[in-house]
Subunit: 339 residues, 5 copies
């Protein structure tokens, strides 16, 4: 689930952002430490080879190749590629958040306009919001690995109370090779149409309002489905990945400390620890990891959207709104500014 | 059809993105390998000429030209041009996806508000959604090469069941030198108007809701048509293409390994394989290929939208929604949280 | 009129974009060749002067100035300025396309809800859509040079059948120092109001739907008018123009081939033809020409919107929709998937 | 008032943009010439000091400092800061234009749906649109210096006919420490409500349409107010200003022509006039001036929105639409394409 | 509260932006001076150590390390990272402003359509707008530290008159582990539904209009809640923070003035005060501080939104609109342009 740190940065002050560097959960360290270990390992092996395993002519050759790698590694436009790519991924990520379906408005509307305090009225209201949640679960199963793990089969959905067995049979009886997540939404519409004819929905406005709202809800589900279906073109991701990885590989060789005795340009000092190269690894790989984490926000990363929590919350809130709160409000009282 | 790889990158982990480099379908390799072969071929010819065919004074001249090419190739602002250009192309591409017309909402609405279980009722509902699909097919034929191959003539559209012969005659009888893809949409409106007068659409709200939804659908068709009609200005595409190609041409000459004996600056070592130049080719050409693939998403690239699949899916779903599911929903049952 | 090349780039393949370089219509060559000729002319004059007209001390001075120009020409941030500026211009250009007023939806609605097969009914419907087209013509006259050439006076508009003489008199009788393009839209509203009272528009919903649609149409006209009225601030355009032109001027001097005998840095070879400088001219000037072409899409460039075509198309389509197609649709038949 | 130059750049042609450099009104020259004079003055003083006032050791020191300034001035990321900052300011500027309140649509609607040709009907219609204009004037007074100069007190607003004395008293009687520009909008709503009850607004749809439109209008006023209230954060503007000014200050020293005799790197020639430095001043300062001009478009710059003109135009157009044009349209005639 | 400086920059003129540098409130100085002090302190310590504490070999080593730091510090892509990151943060910040809930439109609508001058009518109207304000307070408490300080417990909300004790009990009786800020919105809907049944809301349109408006209001609350819940991914913030801080740390060492006697490249002069390094600190740290200030606009920074002021203003305005102004407007009078 997303780790919010808004409260920690409410005020700009001394050490505001640096303090965030101390977190581990959802942090860059947690994402990077394995890659960092491999990178350091490779760097050290090369360094040890150069210092101890090579003879003099081999060392001279090693130095030439290192100089060559150093010179050309700057030709790879990593910053530019990453800057534009991460902007695209970030925008997709936020739009995916905005497309999450929340049934609050629909539930509130159902509670307001589908009348009847009797059992059938209650049944209709509860079934309508259950349809909405069912539809969302079906979409989320296909999108989120966590939701899929929770509901690997339709039976799990039925057991969890999102669907009845009769519904499942009706659902299965509709033949289509394509995704049918929208079927419960259509049931919702048909049930609303029936409620209108029974007079439980008292006027055409309310019916139209329900149709408008359910279309917005359906649009959200469609967008969630689309973002999963249409990824950022693979080519783009591959180009960026190759750019970053080859840049870092060339750094392995090109940023070796060479023997200061050889008077090679820019190699006056041997500090053993390539601090700046590690930092560059940190920035570029970290920037790429931002993309990797955001490209599919329905996974199990620390910062991914908690789909299962959403599903539970939505069902609970839906029933609360249409059932417990049906047409009730606290007694009216004069407020303290009445006069 | 678009290759989704969302599931593979659900979690950010070690080797998340690198794993994507192993795919061939829709990959950068598949798009680039021919250009790469030509590039390598030219590079090798130049290299062989320099090493074996030229005499000493010619070699010196070759070296001077190579140094000159190397020096100036950096003046070409390839990264910038590509960064801004690909951003524009990407935004167009996604907006084109968002403009794809889906009849789901309209079909659901038709199923809800055009009443009558009799044959004429059924006929009206099926015809209405067929009009929608017909209109989409007409637009897609003009936009997508694949759809055009499938429906080269109107007869193919009639054979596929999107249009009747009577409709075709009526369509032809309307004289206009301009595109008439919107005609079936107007039939839809007129038929809805008729259904309202027959009382099959029971109230004015439902009629207005249909009009609003059909206008959104018509808007999508218009956008798809527009994106095809108004390309990104040719000038921009030409400038970018010339920039990338001339940059790569200048690299052919400027990145040759020159005789280390001549002590030319930056030419201390002869590695035969110009690894960094190949990488640069890979990045810049790959970045350009991203644009080339996205600029028209209705072609036959691996990552293009599968228009024919959409057409089939939409027709099937439309009939399902207005016919099989007409006013039906599963029996109401108490859910497991009833008390 | 815009030259579409979408079909040529439907598939990403070998030589996809390069093939576009062979086009002349709307191409960069057509836009640039005059500037290129002037640039080459100036370069050659300077070069000839240097090589043949100057004596030795003058040559040395020339070389110093050339080196100086070369060194400082890189300080001018041309890429950045152009990148951001062209992005803004491109966004404006596309928004202007999106603001083009299409009467299709309104015509379809008028055909659906303004009833009466008698002559007066027909007259009302035709007049309503004519008002819409008249309003658009009035706006386009002020915006597009081509439309202005076609309708230099109101008489031309009357002759073309967009306005009657009575309407012209009424129009003139309204005193206002400001643009009155919206007057026919208000006539449209008033006529709709009258039709509602006559019962030809049968319900208030239809009337409200007409008002909503006509407001969207009016909004488009207003936006077209605004884009013409409020240009991109002149200052920005001037800064970009000065940057590009002075950069190119400095290249004229700074990129001269200097005598290799003098052993000046970076001047080891005299190739006579400054290939890279010409390419740079091509890129930067081409990028600027993209902006120049897009900044006013209602001119006579090859890639500009064809306003006159739009006007003709809209009038023809409008009459077709409200008259020939009034409440008609093909006979209903069972489709081939009926069972 | 904004200077439109759209017509001058309708066609991309030889010298299209350069021709714009000849304008003075709203031009970069007009904005910059004072700063330029100061800059040149300082440069010349330093130059004269160096050449004539300093002795040899002082000259050497001066040269060292100049070299140092030259070397480090490139470290300041002026292009980047300006590119991103101006993009933000430009977007704000255009959104502010889009938020300008135009009463056209509301006036047209009032003219259509508030019935009654009698004096009271006329009074209601005129009063309703006057309320709209009054509300706009109140907001614009707080935002635009020009409007404030025109209406320094409420008395001026009353004298100009936007408000009656009775209204002013009612307005004053409402106690609130906060801005009350929305009060006339609420009067508009209440008056519409009254007109509905009197039957002058004949149906609930029309009333709802008025409410919807007036909310859009109120939203525009709110946005204009917000853009004035919430500036771009001061910190951002300060960072950009400091960056540009210190960069230019460092150029004053770092771009001095130093004695060619000293054989300092890059100082082979003494041209006296620092052409490129002046150009850089021109670009960077010009770019900053773009921001300075756009950051508040309600001032008195040549390119600012002409708020007073808008106010006059809106009042005149409003009365025209609801009064002169009330329910009138030209006599219906057959158009020339009737058959 | 946001410091507006719009008025100071209404006109672009000599010294327009520079004048802003003299402000302290909400200024970059106020945000930066502590970091600046620490930075200067560290720089001075290093400088003193180098000049006085080290022996010759140590000095040589120090110089080598300083040269190394200087050389590599430019490899860190700080400008790029900051440019893209601040753009994202800025967009979030402005969208958060746009999501602030203003009850003006709803209050105006309630005043228009919930009829009844009797006490119960007044009670319903006042209660409805109070519910809206209560809901906003509940959301703001969770988001803004200032609002939380003002209302640490529900009792404080009750005391401030936003809630009655009966309401608090009803609120508590609804069991849900999730945030219940939307409960008063549902009460609003239910109360509206009741008012419709009592006939105080006279028609279905008005009821639907209320539902639409309240949904927009609820959407704003949801967005405010979301922006707090879903931060910009921590990884991105960490990468940017590390980049800026390590760049500045490397400057501490790399920008030391080294002994000019050693003839090190770029170290010809010892000016003691590292003016350009301080400027760089100023730009990069300032740019980062822009992000730090904008990332949570509900804190206590000088430029943050003044949530408590908003809450007070909204309550006062709401009561004013539905109570004092209920159906009242000034007497109608002929305006001065009547004839």
């Amino acid at each position: 689930m997303t780790k919010s740190y808004s409260l920690k940065v409410a005020n700009a002050r001394l050490g505001g952002f640096p303090r965030l560097l101390l977190r581990w959960k959802a942090s860059i360290y947690k994402l990077l430490y394995k890659e960092m270990a491999i990178f350091v390992g490779l760097y050290v092996s090369l360094s040890v080879t150069y210092r101890f395993a090579l003879n003099e002519p081999q060392k001279r050759m090693f130095e030439k190749i290192a100089m060559y790698c150093h010179q050309y590694s700057d030709l790879i436009p990593v910053s530019f590629l990453l800057g534009f790519y991460v902007s695209i991924i970030y925008a997709r990520w936020w739009n995916q958040y905005l497309s999450l379906p929340w049934p609050d408005r629909l539930a509130s509307l159902v509670g307001c306009v589908v009348h009847g305090p009797d059992e059938r009225g209650r049944l209709i209201r509860r079934t309508m919001v259950r349809y909405l949640n069912l539809s969302a679960v079906m979409v989320m199963r296909g999108v989120s690995t966590l939701v899929y793990k929770r509901f690997p089969t339709m039976t799990h959905i039925i057991d969890a109370g999102f669907m009845t067995i009769a519904e499942w049979k009706e659902y299965e009886s509709l033949e289509s090779p394509h995704s049918k997540f929208w079927v419960p939404i259509n049931w919702f519409c048909n049930l609303a149409s029936e409620a209108r004819q029974e007079g439980r929905i008292r006027d055409d406005f309310a019916f139209k309002a329900l149709m408008e709202e359910v279309n917005i809800y359906r649009g959200c589900l469609g967008m969630i489905y689309s973002y999963d279906w249409i990824s950022v073109p693979l080519v783009y991701t591959q180009v960026v990945t190759v750019a970053v990885y080859t840049f870092l590989l060339s750094c392995l060789m090109g940023r070796q400390y060479l023997d200061p005795e050889q008077k090679l340009e820019g190699h006056d000092v041997d500090l053993y620890i390539p601090a700046f190269t590690l930092l560059q690894f940190f920035f570029y790989m970290g920037w790429l990891k931002v993309a990797e984490q955001l490209i599919n926000p329905f996974g199990e990363d620390d910062d991914d959207f908690d789909s299962n929590w959403c599903i539970d919350r939505n069902l609970q809130i839906s029933y609360l709104a249409v059932d417990d709160m049906y047409l009730s409000h606290p007694p009216l009282e004069k407020d303290i500014y009445w006069n």
